[in-house]
């Protein structure tokens, strides 16, 4: 037996007395499928989100007030007029800086430190492990005990920020129900873009509120639910959502891409918004 490659299945001084079974796994099902699909899904999102965040245009539809979530909130003087719902107290940005500089790092951090996505990318990209009862290729493993992965413990701060950003996204969504009349005044209107924005915001709330940190903060940290009936009820609700955290994580990847793509296409004039009311 050569010693050049680490083979965790083989007995060695490291694995004293274990059954000598050399195969990396004896699983015969398609265990590689889930990590593959996860890797493709996550990679798609990362690539799309990176490109669009740095794109710098086609993120706002002025007549319907549609603002892409990748550009909210837009605080820079470089932002397209009207897209800054909370003012432009930051100077112009050079082209290589994403306009949502203040929110994107937190949104990224929220998802990177998310307990579900951690499972997904540890398995899909790190192969740590690739699937249950399939040996991982690494010789050494320290998990989240030291830098940098110990920073995963900061998840709840990203949750706090993501909560605020979800409020902003909600505001963006509400504002978009006001479209510009031909005379320049505002009036109520609904287009397909509104529906998409609404679905996206609902998805974002479900994802944000079903977060494990949220579950902990709202009630999980209590030793005695019986002494805090209101928080217990909130915790019960969050817990119910929490069981679907994975689902919401993937749904929001879809809705974020869809929302941004739709707004990009409308803003760039490639398609026109399907109007339902005004």
């Amino acid at each position: 037996m050569t010693t050049t490659a680490h083979d965790p299945g083989a007995p060695s001084a490291e694995n004293p007395g274990r059954a000598d079974i050399r195969a990396r796994t004896l699983r015969r099902d398609r265990w590689w499928l889930a990590p593959l699909v996860n890797a493709l899904g996550l990679a798609t999102f990362v690539v799309y989100a990176t490109i669009r965040s740095f794109w710098g245009s086609a993120y706002y539809v002025p007549e319907y007030h549609y603002l892409s979530p990748f550009y909210s909130p837009c605080f820079s003087a470089s932002c397209v007029p009207g897209s800054s719902h909370f003012g432009t107290f930051l100077p112009e940005f050079p082209a290589w800086l994403p306009l949502a500089l203040l929110s994107l790092p937190f949104l990224l951090g929220f998802r990177v430190t998310c307990y579900y996505y951690r499972k997904s990318y540890y398995r899909a990209f790190w192969a740590s492990p690739p699937a249950c009862a399939v040996a991982e290729p690494h010789g050494k493993y320290t998990g989240e005990t030291r830098f940098p992965l110990i920073l995963q413990n900061a998840h709840r701060y990203f949750f706090y920020m993501a909560f605020l950003i979800s409020l902003i996204n909600t505001y963006d969504m509400v504002v978009a129900f006001q479209s510009d009349a031909p005379d320049g005044s505002g009036r109520f209107g609904i287009g397909l873009g509104n529906v998409i924005l609404l679905v996206n915001v609902i998805g974002l709330w479900l994802y944000t509120l079903s977060c494990h940190s949220c579950r902990h903060i709202t009630g999980g940290r209590l030793k005695h639910f019986s002494k805090h009936p209101v928080r217990y009820r909130i915790w019960t609700g969050v817990s119910a959502l929490n069981t679907r955290h994975m689902l919401f994580a993937w749904i929001t990847i879809g809705t974020l891409i869809l929302t941004d793509l739709y707004i990009m296409l409308v803003a760039s004039g490639t398609i026109s918004d399907l109007r339902i009311v005004n």
């Binding site: 965790p8 009862a133 493993y141 998990g143 709840r156 902990h216 002494k227």
Partner: protein
């Protein structure tokens, strides 16, 4: 409706050396993998070693890997396999093998001993314990554990890295810490210990423990992640730290709840009231 199935069973001894041995064996309707192993014992291999007890999924003894997947043999129905499929049974990979399908699971007993026991509230007499069902619901889920050690076996932290065994208690015993931390009347603070003594930080929540749990306990979502969050409260949350410094809030909450002293106090020893020197062999 019976048929003849092909089996491969790992046979070997405590040196770890061994091989898969092929068998052709009858299968009857409604049988589970453990029935087939017993038939092998009775008809073809009288000394085939297998550990089992209740044969009803309640004791957690007959853990093994069936077609590479950690399972209880008594809860793996033969009807889940194709009739022409070769079924491979191997011992748990993470623990030293004793013989054939039996492994030495003492690692788990060592880890169990390292978790400080329930620390009862002082001055509450037996019979005076009062707990609400909503408060015991959470730890009760974890007490469904039948200690089959499938989670301990599957967790890659020790399965793929023998050298992590000293530092890492494994999902079952991290869950035990969570259980005690959520026990309405336990007075010991267990959060820092979970991280520093029992290796909670090694867990990267990849959820294999939950996937293999035959009791369907949500180990990751309900025990490990909440425990990680509780550790953050104590170790990594400046706001909570500040709040504690200023208000001593958590301690108040604890004291009010259990009629107890400081949360940081290890709690009373809960055993015999005997002085040490009264223990010893008879007649010595």
């Amino acid at each position: 409706m019976g048929y003849r199935a092909k089996f491969e069973v790992w046979r070997g001894d405590s040196s770890g050396e061994g091989a898969l041995q092929p068998f052709d064996v009858d299968v009857e309707e409604g049988e589970v993998v453990l029935d087939i192993v017993h038939r092998l014992q009775a008809t073809q291999a009288g000394d085939l070693a297998v550990r089992w007890n209740c044969k009803a999924g309640k004791c957690g003894s007959c853990s093994a890997e069936v077609n590479g997947r950690p399972r209880l043999m008594c809860m793996t129905r033969m009807s889940t396999f194709e009739e022409n499929e070769t079924i491979t049974i191997t011992p748990l990979r993470t623990f030293p093998v004793i013989r054939d399908l039996v492994t030495d699971v003492d690692f788990n007993y060592v880890k169990a001993r390292e978790v400080p026991s329930f620390a009862p509230p002082e001055g509450v007499a037996p019979g005076e314990y009062r707990m609400s069902q909503v408060d015991v619901d959470r730890p009760q889920e974890f007490r469904k554990c039948i200690e089959c050690y499938l989670c301990q076996n599957t967790c890659h932290v020790v399965r793929d890295h023998e050298d992590n065994k000293p530092e890492f208690a494994g999902p079952r015993y991290l869950m035990r810490i969570a259980e005690l931390d959520m026990h309405p009347l336990d007075v010991r603070n267990r959060k820092e210990d979970a991280q520093e003594e029992h290796g909670l930080g090694y867990c990267n929540i990849t959820k294999c423990c939950t996937e293999v749990c035959p009791e369907h306990i949500k180990i990751t979502d309900n025990a490990l992640i909440p425990m990680k969050e509780r550790v953050v409260d104590r170790k990594y949350d400046p706001l909570v730290w500040l709040g504690k410094k200023i208000f001593k809030r958590e301690e108040l909450e604890q004291r009010e709840a259990t009629g107890q002293r400081s949360l940081d106090d290890a709690g009373p020893e809960n055993g015999s009231p005997l002085p040490a020197d009264s223990i010893g062999p008879v007649g010595s």
